[in-house]
Point group: C2
Chain length 195, copies 2
DNA sequence: GTCTATATTCGGATAGAC
DNA sequence: GTCTATCCGAATATAGAC
C-alpha cells in the first residue's frame, strides 16, 4: 500500500544495465548514446532527462557499483572473526563475484575512470580499497600480520588475487577462479603472515 | 659513411614522444590529432603520412615500448644467476623504470589497449609477461619456487610489486618506490619460495 | 517522463600544392 | 616528406510536442 516497492525507475535501471555491458565490452568512448538507446530501448531524450549527460551515466553506474561492493565487503568483514579469515573471505567473495558478474568486476577493476570521470579519485583510494587496508592494519595490531608499511602489506596480500582476477577477465585462465582459490590464498597469506 | 647513423626520422620520434605524454595524461580518445600536431610541431598531413591513421600511432608506440621492455627484461635475465636474483632484479628494474619514465610505465600497465588496439592480445599474454612466467617456471624446476600452478605463482610473485607501481603512478605513495623495494620483495618472494 | 527530430560541434581523414 | 585547407561522418546535446 505504501506503493513503491519493486517499482524502481524501470528505464533508469535498464540504461544502467545496458551501459555496464556496453562500457565493459567496448569501452566508454566507443559506446555512443545511440548504442545505449538502441540496446536499452530507452530514447535518447529520456536518457538525458535522467542522467544529464553521458558522463552522468558513467558516474551513476560507478557509484552504484562502488556502494554495492562496499556493502558486500562490510558484510564479509562482520561475518568473519580473525583477520586471516576476513581476508580470505574477501578474496573468495571477489573470485565468486568475478564468475557471477564478470561485467561488474571488469568495470570496477579495468575501467579507466580517470578518462571519463575526471573528478573521481584513483581506484586505490576508493572506499572498497580503503576498507581492505583497514583490515590489514588491524591484522598488524593483532599480530597476525607482520609489522610493515601498510600499503606494502595491502598490495602484497591482495595484489596476487587481483591479478588472477584480471587474467580471468582477459580470458587467459583455463578454469574458474574457485579452482585456484586455495593455492592463491596460500601464496597471498604467506607473503604477509607473521612467522 | 654508410650515411644514416643518428639521423633517425626526427618528426616520427617527436610524434611518438608527444603521444606518449598525451595518451598517458588524457587517454587515447581524449587526444585529438590536432592536439598531437600542435604539441609535436608536426603537421597533421605528415603524421598521416608516417602512421596511416590514429590507431597506427598507438600501435607503433605500443610495439616500440613493448620491445624496449622485453629487451631490458632479457638483459636483466641474463645478468643474474639464480631465479631468486633474476626476479628480484626484474622488480627493481620495474621500480626504477617507473620513477625514471613514469609515462612509459603508465602506458604499458594502464592503457586499455583493447579499446584502441583491437587486434592486440591482452597484456598478460604479451611478450614481457610471458618472459616473466618462463623464469618462474624455471624456478620451479630448480626447486627455488614451490610447485604450483604457473599462473598462480607468477601473479603471486609479481602481483604485489605491480600494484605498488600502480599506486605510485596514481600518486598515492608518499615516497619513491626504491624506498619500498626491500619490503615489497620480501613479501613477494615469501609468497612462492620453497620452504 | 518519454519521445522524435534537429542543431552544432568536432575530429578523423583526404587532396593536392610545394 | 611536409604542409594547408577542406571534406564528411558521427556523436553529443537540445528543442519542443505529447
Amino acid at each position: 500500500m505504501p506503493s513503491t516497492l519493486p517499482r524502481i525507475d524501470d528505464s533508469r535501471q535498464r540504461v544502467l544495465d545496458t551501459v555496464l555491458a556496453l562500457f565493459s565490452t567496448h569501452g566508454y568512448f566507443a559506446t555512443s548514446l545511440q548504442d545505449i538507446s538502441r540496446e536499452s530501448g530507452v530514447s535518447i531524450g529520456s536518457i538525458y532527462h535522467h542522467f544529464g549527460d553521458k558522463e552522468g551515466i558513467a558516474s551513476t553506474l560507478y557509484h552504484t557499483l562502488s556502494e554495492q561492493m562496499t556493502a558486500r565487503l562490510d558484510r564479509v568483514n562482520r561475518k568473519n572473526g580473525s583477520v586471516h579469515d576476513k581476508c580470505r573471505a574477501i578474496v573468495k567473495m571477489l573470485f565468486d563475484m568475478t564468475e557471477a558478474e564478470p561485467l561488474v568486476m571488469n568495470f570496477m577493476l579495468y575501467a579507466k575512470h580517470k578518462e571519463f570521470l575526471p573528478g573521481e579519485p584513483p581506484i586505490c583510494s576508493s572506499k572498497p580499497f580503503a576498507l581492505m587496508r583497514d583490515i590489514v592494519r588491524m591484522g598488524m595490531e593483532t599480530g597476525e600480520i607482520r609489522r610493515m608499511d601498510l600499503m606494502v602489506a595491502s598490495t602484497s596480500l591482495f595484489g596476487g588475487p587481483i591479478r588472477m582476477i584480471m587474467a580471468r577477465l582477459d580470458g587467459v585462465l583455463p578454469a574458474q577462479l574457485s579452482r585456484y582459490l586455495d593455492e592463491v590464498w596460500e601464496c597471498a597469506w604467506r607473503s604477509v603472515a607473521a612467522d
